[in-house]
């Protein structure tokens, strides 16, 4: 088998500990979504200040504050149940549908403002199609080792793809001129933490270097992941370090993305057994609702 073929098998077919990592990614996804729902803007503010301008001819969701809060409640309860191990089809459907509708509604609050966390919807969908509870999974619904490996690879590569998109976006809009450091320097001054604002008062060459490092990190992360697959835990650590630096200087952590570095790259797969042992006593599991399809 060629070297590239062997690497392909290693990533997409024979990934060690894929079931366990999927279970850890499931918990990460559930926790991140619950945190996201908890901190969403209140319905009355969304209803009051939403942008009602022409949205390029597309239909707009029209939830009033009470409908939005009800949807928020359904999403929270169904995602919490799924996270704790409930595998009923209705729960999985409600979690996906309610969270998608909620996210879409918030994203349409003002189309000029970014949406940036639909990775959570994608992960929820992927991880709820089959039983991804690792050692607690119903064998009839658990993915085969090959499918689990492919699912894990998809999550890992999507993690890397986000960086590639972000790097390409900077070059697409700012060109190589983005490397003059002005954007980062100005962002330190505008959004910066105390440390960030201190950096904004230093020689701009520091911003030039940090900009170049950031861009290199974003563009090369996917390549590095494929080329240094056996050392991917180090890439996960580098990724977390990158986000910690951004948080320390700009007070933006991109946590809904960065937190996946832990289950996808960093935690040993065997961690799942300890987590599952704790979850085994979840009331949702002891009632065996996981066996209901």
């Amino acid at each position: 088998m060629s070297r590239s073929g062997a690497l392909f098998r290693q990533i997409f077919v024979d990934q060690e500990g894929a079931h366990e990592r999927l279970a850890l990614a499931r918990l990460t996804t559930g926790a991140a979504i619950l945190r996201t729902i908890w901190k969403l803007p209140p319905g009355e503010a969304l209803e009051r200040y939403r942008f009602d301008g022409a949205p390029s001819g597309r239909s707009r969701p029209m939830l009033d504050a009470r409908q939005y809060e009800a949807l928020r409640g359904v999403a929270f309860i169904s995602v919490a149940a799924w996270t704790l191990g409930c595998e009923q089809a209705g729960v999985r459907f409600a979690a996906n549908a309610a969270f998608a509708a909620l996210q879409r509604h918030v994203a349409h609050f003002d189309q000029r403002a970014w949406n940036y966390n639909s990775n959570l919807n994608l992960a929820l969908l992927m991880l709820s199609v089959t039983d991804t509870r690792g050692s607690l999974a119903d064998p009839d619904r658990a993915p085969s080792p090959e499918t689990a490996s492919a699912m894990m690879a998809a999550l890992q590569l999507y993690y890397a793809w986000v960086y590639l998109q972000s790097g390409v976006a900077k070059l697409r809009v700012g060109g190589l001129g983005w490397l003059d450091g002005r954007t980062l320097h100005g962002s330190w001054a505008e959004l910066g933490t105390r440390l960030g604002r201190r950096l904004a008062r230093t020689d701009r060459r520091l911003a030039v270097s940090a900009s170049a490092l950031s861009l290199l990190f974003e563009l090369l992360f996917p390549v590095a992941l494929l080329c240094a697959w056996r050392h991917r835990e180090w890439l996960g650590a580098v990724s977390l370090t990158f986000h910690a630096a951004v948080k320390a200087t700009l007070d933006i952590s991109f946590w809904h993305h960065a937190s996946y570095a832990v289950p996808l790259f960093l935690l040993p797969a065997r961690t799942e057994h300890a987590v599952s042992a704790a979850l085994r006593f979840s009331p949702l599991l002891t009632r065996r609702c996981h066996n209901v399809r």
């Binding site: 200040y49 189309q111 809009v173 700012g174 505008e190 008062r201």
Partner: protein, 174 residues
Amino acid sequence: MQLWHTLRNTNRWPWCSYNMFAYRKRARAWQLRVRLITGDGQQVGPADPWGLLPMEFFRVVSTLERIFFTEQDHAAREEFCREVLARLNDRPWRGWDEVKAALAPPAGQRFAAMELYLVEVDFDQCDPSDRTYVVSAELLHRHDPSAVAAELPQPQWRFVAECDPSPQPQYQEN
């Protein structure tokens, strides 16, 4: 699809272009500042306006730009300010990453008035740790139903010496 949106520099949920910081800042920029005043005349700010609404800071700025630039409805602006003050006084929120914590009045006080300013900053010359250090500042709107702000002096802006302000931005809907 996502790459297509990245190349077009657009976002349309659920597709994300992940175009964070994908723009070029110049040496100067227009920003907003808010000054909040309590019933007995104590001031908070001039400060960044992100803690005026319980949502991500970029959505706050986008909302303020819409209400105070692209729309010219004075009554809507007054209503917005009244609601903001009520929320800050009665339903403050804690910060979480891109959602900044509510601007808080001094202990035992309530906000009674607010002023929104458009300022120009020069990233090379203004000290970013001092939000009053600006090239220029213009009052956009004063909400002062009990006339406490009108009796106060202007904020103590520190202006960059020998520096001409740029023409004001013209905000347009996308």
